[in-house]
């Protein structure tokens, strides 16, 4: 299946220095989100298991972070003053793997080993096996506490002014009580450099979040815990970037509740229940999904060319 082999993006990610000099434009980021989505479909089609819909839901957030907002350097992954990214919803690992591979943390071919015995990429992020993973996740509810710990350590090292911690949470994360322990602690300890992005896609394993266990107004909850809290459309790249960049200037815990659609970008999956964790990516499904995403990519690439330069 030749179409499943990952290919390097003809428009490679900008290096750290380039990003700092000229921030990638929204349209570019949208295109890169599609690149990551395509990688996810390919990976899952080969792996035959994993959480595609969960990965696609977070694609725009992850693209905004890795291609623009995060201060990270694949050539120096242990750089102490780097920003930290924590995928609290660790089951969406493929989307992070795609971003890491595209940035050169490991070869693109590794993506095809996802979940296979002896391969580097585990079902959930593993800091001991995969470069670029800050902490292992996969057990819902623990991630935000880890972010608080990282934020405190950076502050003790005098790095909190520059190094920011970004955690991506899910509906399930917000159902776990521990997340609210962490939310309490972040404010109590005055962690200045933490942003929690909730990928609020209203779907979980057993049904809609409203049916299973309604978490209601997550933004209001974070606000009640003393966080700065905004709500955005998690697939509107302009809003995503603005909220992320604003959050790092606040010097207080910041929550971004991103309204999203599970499976975003693949219309057969978008916002639909019944895909979570299923080996839904049959060769036919993958072919259709890839066709749709390739068309999107082509459109976005063309638009970029026509647009030429433009402001950030």
């Amino acid at each position: 299946m030749r179409h499943l082999t990952p290919v390097p993006d003809p428009k490679p990610p900008p290096k750290l220095a380039e990003r700092e000099e000229a921030k990638p434009r929204i349209a570019e980021l949208e295109r890169w989100a599609t690149v990551l989505r395509i990688d996810c479909v390919r990976m899952l089609a080969v792996a035959k298991s994993g959480h595609l819909d969960s990965s696609l839901s977070a694609a725009d957030i992850v693209a905004a972070l890795y291609y623009r907002v995060l201060r990270h350097d694949p050539e120096n992954p242990e750089w102490p003053a780097r920003d930290r990214f924590v995928l609290c919803k660790g089951h969406a690992a493929p989307i992070q793997y795609a971003a890491l591979a595209q940035h050169g943390y490991f070869p693109l071919e590794e993506l095809m080993g996802l979940r296979q015995i002896g391969a580097q990429l585990q079902g959930h992020p593993d800091m001991r096996r995969t470069p670029g993973i800050e902490v292992s996740t996969g057990s819902l509810g623990q991630g935000l506490s880890m972010c608080v710990g990282i934020g405190l350590a950076l502050r003790l090292d005098g790095l909190a002014e520059t190094a920011h911690v970004f955690g991506v949470l899910s509906d399930g994360d917000c159902q776990e009580g521990q997340t609210w322990e962490a939310a309490t602690a972040a404010v109590h300890f005055g962690v200045p450099n933490i942003t929690a992005i909730v990928d609020y896609n209203h779907l979980q394993t057993d049904g809609t979040t409203e049916e299973v266990m309604d978490i209601r107004d997550v933004r209001a909850k974070f606000e009640a815990f003393g966080w700065d809290a905004v709500e955005i459309d998690g697939h509107d790249m302009g809003q995503v970037v603005e909220a992320l960049e604003r959050s790092r200037t606040l010097r207080k815990p910041a929550a971004i509740v991103a309204q999203t659609k599970k499976g975003k970008g693949v219309s057969a999956m978008e916002g639909r229940f019944g895909f979570h964790g299923k080996a839904a990516v049959s060769p036919e499904f993958a072919a259709d999904a890839l066709e749709e995403l390739m068309a999107t990519l082509e459109e976005q690439t063309k638009a970029l060319h026509e647009e030429g330069g433009g402001e950030s």
Partner: protein, 332 residues
């Protein structure tokens, strides 16, 4: 400032607290976390000296363990203190994924292990934490016998890299070591030599095993060898096997369920390499109970007499099954 050895009975948790505060002095990267029990766990001694490196998370043990993961992943050496029941029970999954799986240098100072905490009763008496933490991959399990060894265990924990679960106790405990030992060494110390039976204890049961050995000698003329296992996992099997090879029969003693605890650890080594009768003193299929600490220990037979009585039962079997070590030179 060199640490001062204690000669009067002192809780092992005090050894943890004192050593932790001293570690804070000598190492800037040490941080301490507690879950609203800092006075009980003695982490308060660190907290008072280094408030900027001390994080009391309130009654939120899960959060504490995952925060420690984040701190350690970012270069700090966190010491997490709470009662053993919450450290190993409430926060098991957090310890498992965030700390053990990640092989992070986090130390869990679990105080009030066992039934000797007394009056609070079953809800607080953690009697399966050694089993849980032994079963957890990559986790080292340390149970010091007295204040002096607890001090050393804590101080030495900084020098090691692997994740560690350290169990301490509430009550003042008689000394086993006259001074603060130089090192934990292999984690198995022969405290008393003898040829007839091995008494293998851990934690609060070690001084009781020494007392049991005295009474066996005085009343039965039995020469018991006494081993203190301070590192229950990984168990230094050579020292244990050497003793079993000499005596051919043993009693283990722990303030813990015999399932998954020291008894199982010793029996596992013996079963594979030198099968001899090994009797166990510890809790059966039962939870703790309210009472004074001492009364609780007596209720479950966790006494010098309990150990001596088990030893007498075990010695009856010795002539029947005793034979040379499987792999010893005598075998050929």
């Amino acid at each position: 400032m060199p640490a001062e050895a204690k000669t009067e009975p002192t809780p092992t948790r005090a050894g943890y607290g004192d050593a932790l505060a001293d570690l804070g002095e000598s190492h800037d990267d040490v941080v301490a976390l507690d879950a609203d029990l800092a006075v009980s766990t003695q982490a308060i001694k660190f907290g008072k000296k280094f408030p900027e490196r001390f994080f009391n998370v309130g009654a939120a043990e899960a959060n504490m363990m995952s925060m420690a993961c984040g701190l350690a992943a970012t270069g700090k050496v966190p010491y997490c203190s709470t009662f053993a029941v919450f450290a190993a029970g409430r926060a098991y999954d957090q310890v498992r994924l965030g700390i053990a799986h990640n092989e992070l240098k986090v130390r869990i100072g679990a105080s009030h292990g066992g039934v000797s905490l007394g009056e609070d009763g079953a809800s607080h008496q953690m009697i399966e934490d050694i089993a849980l933490m032994r079963a957890m991959p990559r986790m080292t399990v340390v149970v010091p016998a007295d204040y002096n060894q607890a001090y050393r265990a804590t101080a030495e924990s900084y020098e090691r890299d692997e994740p560690m679960y350290m169990r301490f106790g509430r009550p003042a405990t008689p000394g086993v070591y006259d001074d603060i030992p130089e090192t934990l060494g292999t984690g198995v110390d022969v405290l008393r030599e003898g040829k007839d039976i091995s008494l293998i204890g851990t934690g609060h049961m070690v001084w009781r095993a020494l007392e049991a050995a005295e009474s066996l000698e005085a009343e039965d003329g039995v020469e018991a060898e006494v081993l203190n296992v301070s590192i229950v996992k990984p168990l230094h099997s050579e020292t244990v096997l050497e003793s079993l090879g000499k005596t051919g029969v043993a009693v283990t003693a722990e303030e813990h369920r015999v399932v998954g605890g020291l008894a199982d650890a010793v029996r596992q080594v013996a079963a594979e390499q030198h099968p001899v009768p090994i009797f166990a003193v510890g809790l059966g299929d039962e939870f703790g109970i309210s009472g004074t600490g001492e009364a609780c220990m007596e209720h479950f037979g966790l006494t010098a007499r309990g150990i001596a009585d088990r030893a007498r039962e075990a010695l009856v079997l010795k002539p029947i099954v005793s034979r040379p070590p499987l792999f010893g030179p005598e075998w050929t």
